[in-house]
Amino acid sequence: MTLDALDPLIHVPARLQIVATLAALPEGDALSFPRLQDLIGLTPGNLITHLRKLEDAGYLATEKSGNGPASRTSVALTHRGRAALNTYTAAIRRLLDGL
């Protein structure tokens, strides 16, 4: 097994942290952008960039509620994103077993 078996979208430190953090929530729950930032410790600009890439792949869904300064963005892992993380975890275990 080679590194190619690992999902390139998840196999990046920042995105791995984002997906793993959101996967710690029960299915059906979402996390606000500031709390996700607090848990991971990325700058807002960097976090937005990585969230967009994951959202484009259908791994997570974002929802904006409210308007103006009171607006709030929530992020949740989709069923597809959770499945992708499970596949990634299994692949990395197999890869490390083979080393």
Binding site: G28, D29, L31
Partner: protein
């Protein structure tokens, strides 16, 4: 910004740009543990405080009734100590849970609110029924001894068991069932002994949960 950092697609990677699978596995494990710990609605420490609070609160009432012949019910001082300890415990638990649920929305929050409403309704219903028993002339040993604690613990245990079954949190489900068993078994100790037996039983059950939580977190 304090406490934040920039990580691009090649950061924390090897010089050739690839992200070492060993590092990835370590990061995945660390992130998952940290997120679970910070988003968890309970903790071994919180359970430890709960176990101590149960023992002290019910022990205080037992001290106030153990010499009563015939049984009259908990004294004002005993009740004051019990409610004071319970108020401190509830404030601690609510603060902890609010911190864990900060920024979280969706199913868990709705479940937690429904659980709170169900617990309050169950406790009010138990108290109303206690009033009915008093009104119908049932003895103090039942109305102010065996009934209130037994009924409240069984009601809270049943509501908690329902919630934990829905969440598929089986250790917490087991604790809720154990609380109901302690309540039912403690009733055999009579109006005085029920406070002590339930206090010790709850303390042991919640301590066991605290140990189980600590063990599950280390795995």
């Amino acid at each position: 910004m304090n406490g934040t950092r920039d990580i691009d697609d090649t950061a924390a990677s090897d010089p050739d740009g690839s992200f070492d699978p060993r590092e990835a596995a370590k990061l995945l494990d660390q992130t998952t543990r940290q997120a679970r710990r910070r988003l968890d609605l309970s903790s071994p420490q919180l359970s430890l405080v709960g176990a101590t609070a149960a023992l002290l609160a019910l022990g205080a009432v037992w001290l106030s009734v153990r010499g009563q012949h015939p049984y009259k019910g908990p004294t004002a001082a005993g009740l004051l100590v019990m409610y004071g300890i319970l108020a401190c415990w509830i404030a601690t638990a609510v603060t902890f849970q609010r911190r864990a649920l900060s920024g979280v929305s969706g199913r868990s929050v709705r479940q937690q609110r429904a659980f709170g409403a169900a617990i309050v309704t169950a406790l009010v219903a138990v108290s109303v029924f206690q009033g009915v028993l008093h009104h119908d002339g049932v003895s103090n040993a039942i109305v102010y001894g065996i009934y209130p604690l037994t009924a409240q613990l069984i009601a809270m245990g049943a509501v908690a068991a329902g919630l934990q079954a829905a969440r598929e949190d089986w250790p917490a489900f087991g604790i809720a069932i154990a609380v109901m068993c302690v309540a039912a078994g403690g009733a055999f100790a009579g109006p005085r002994g029920v406070w002590l037996i339930d206090g010790i039983g709850l303390c042991v059950v919640v301590l066991g949960y605290s140990v189980a939580q600590a063990w599950l977190r280390r795995r």
